[in-house]
């Protein structure tokens, strides 16, 4: 709380020059806004200015060759906008709905084809011994399967994204542009430019949004109230934890 506590953190992961985040490490869930956003709004404006001013200055230095930079930027921006936030979040949400559907299918005694089929079946059977309500059993099974399921989904997502992007940009060509421009204006300047692009246009990367989309239904599972015991599922998990093989 109010004690000592505010540390200045330079937001690493390549945002060094532009974004400086300040937050209290003492209690990260202190205000409503703590549940809403991470990136400070002014940093977006700063990044916008940085992007245009660096681009303008590189363009000037390139003279007749400024079209190199225009082509480079066109491709990079296209790549960034290749997967849009609304798509990514929907895809993530659907991925988790598919897990729910898989559990329902197994609960109905039907066969399903999935790498986690037998694991999920076993965990449903285990929870059925302890709880009478199917909705509770399913929520518990989803929570148990989630980490593995997420790994599989992320891999599928990455493969699809790589394929999509392969159709849109030619990474060798892109690197050639980067090198040719660097030869004139210096590599540091181009690195700075890339960083500005990232800070301005990749506020939330596609995969993160996809994963967050998966959280929606997953969170409902934790917060589902079991009709039999009137307790929330996460409470049941904590209550039941005498089983070392369990979720915890």
């Amino acid at each position: 709380m109010g004690m000592s506590g505010t540390k200045r953190y330079v937001f690493l992961c390549e945002r060094l020059t532009i974004i400086e985040l300040e937050w209290s490490y003492m209690n990260i869930f202190k205000e409503n806004i703590d549940f809403l956003k991470d990136i400070p709004l002014d940093s977006v404006l700063k990044a916008d200015e940085e992007f245009f001013s660096v681009m303008k200055s590189i363009r000037e230095r390139l003279g007749d060759k400024k079209y190199w930079l225009d082509n480079y930027v066109e491709k990079v921006l296209e790549a960034i906008n290749n997967r849009q936030a609304s798509e990514c979040s929907e895809d993530g949400f659907s991925a988790n709905c598919a897990l729910r559907h898989l559990c329902t299918t197994i609960l109905n005694g039907e066969e399903a084809e999935h790498p986690l089929y037998s694991e999920i079946k076993a965990s449903l059977e285990k929870y059925q011994k302890g709880f009478q309500e199917n909705e509770t059993v399913r929520s518990l099974a989803i929570i148990t399967a989630f980490p593995e399921y997420m790994k599989i989904s992320v891999n599928e997502y990455l493969q699809a994204a790589a394929e999509d992007l392969g159709n849109v940009i030619d990474s060798i060509k892109l690197k050639e542009y980067f090198d040719s421009i660097s030869a004139i204006v210096g590599e540091r300047e181009m690195e700075r430019f890339n960083l500005a692009i990232k800070c301005r246009f990749m506020i939330a990367p596609a995969l993160s949004i996809y994963l967050q989309g998966m959280m929606n239904d997953y969170l409902y599972c934790f917060l589902h109230r079991d009709r039999e015991t009137s307790r929330l599922v996460f409470q049941l998990l904590l209550d039941k934890n005498s089983d070392p093989q369990g979720v915890i």
Binding site: D38, L77, L158, I203, M215
Partner: protein, 223 residues
């Protein structure tokens, strides 16, 4: 280092293992804290329920859709001004957009280019204003659903009982698991995508992209 050297860099923002690892489960730590709390264990349950609930109050699906709708607003105002309809006269973005459009009306033959140019010119500042307004109204909505003062109160109680270190660590684990991308950041990202589409739009008359036109203008302008 060239950060766009691999295509993966265009859609992966963080190290994957940070998200996918099961090693540090927030439930393990919650259980430890619960045991220390003894009879007061229900306090932790209340704390967790409130935070998990808050994590789901504004979904990323909603956030991205709302951003698309909000951005479309700017375009509507531009169209309104260009067509001299003035129906959206009251709109807070009207004066700035009108000024831009009046100044540049005769510059472009393509109506749509003028719309996009006007949007792109004002977008960065408006986006931040739009986002701020949106966050403020959401923060208020949160107040109807959760009591943040009460939450802070429980936090204090928990830290007195089990120490700050564990509770802060618990917060961090929850954040890492459930707040991978904050809805507010996704809202900004979705606004940004609309802006990007404008920057990349190609004027039919000159075959140049909006961003090229903007930079050519900037190069000509006196410092």
């Amino acid at each position: 280092m060239n950060i766009f050297i691999e295509t993966q860099r265009f859609y992966v923002g963080m190290p994957l293992h940070a998200v996918v690892d099961k090693d540090e489960n927030f439930l393990q730590l919650a259980l430890k804290i619960r045991q220390q709390l003894g009879e007061r264990a229900f306090k932790l349950d209340e704390y967790l329920a409130t935070i998990l609930n808050a994590a789901n109050l504004w979904s990323v699906q909603q956030a991205s859709e709302e951003a698309e709708v909000d951005f479309a607003d700017i375009r509507s105002v531009c169209k309104d001004i260009i067509d001299d309809e003035n129906a959206l006269y009251d709109h807070e973005y009207y004066p700035a957009l009108k000024e831009y459009i009046d100044k540049n009306r005769s510059r472009f033959q393509e109506r749509y280019t003028l719309i996009i140019m006007a949007c792109a010119a004002v977008a960065p500042e408006f986006m931040v204003r739009m986002a701020k307004k949106h966050f403020d109204s959401l923060a208020e909505e949160f107040n109807n659903v959760m009591d943040v003062v009460e939450l802070r109160h429980i936090y204090r109680e928990l830290t007195y009982a089990v120490g700050e270190q564990d509770v802060d660590r618990l917060n961090e684990l929850i954040k890492r698991r459930f707040f991978i991308s904050m809805a507010g950041d996704v809202y900004l990202q979705a606004l940004t995508e609309q802006y990007l589409m404008e920057l990349q739009y190609r004027d039919k008359e000159t075959s140049r992209q909006i961003i090229q036109i903007m930079l050519d203008d900037a190069a000509k302008a006196p410092e």
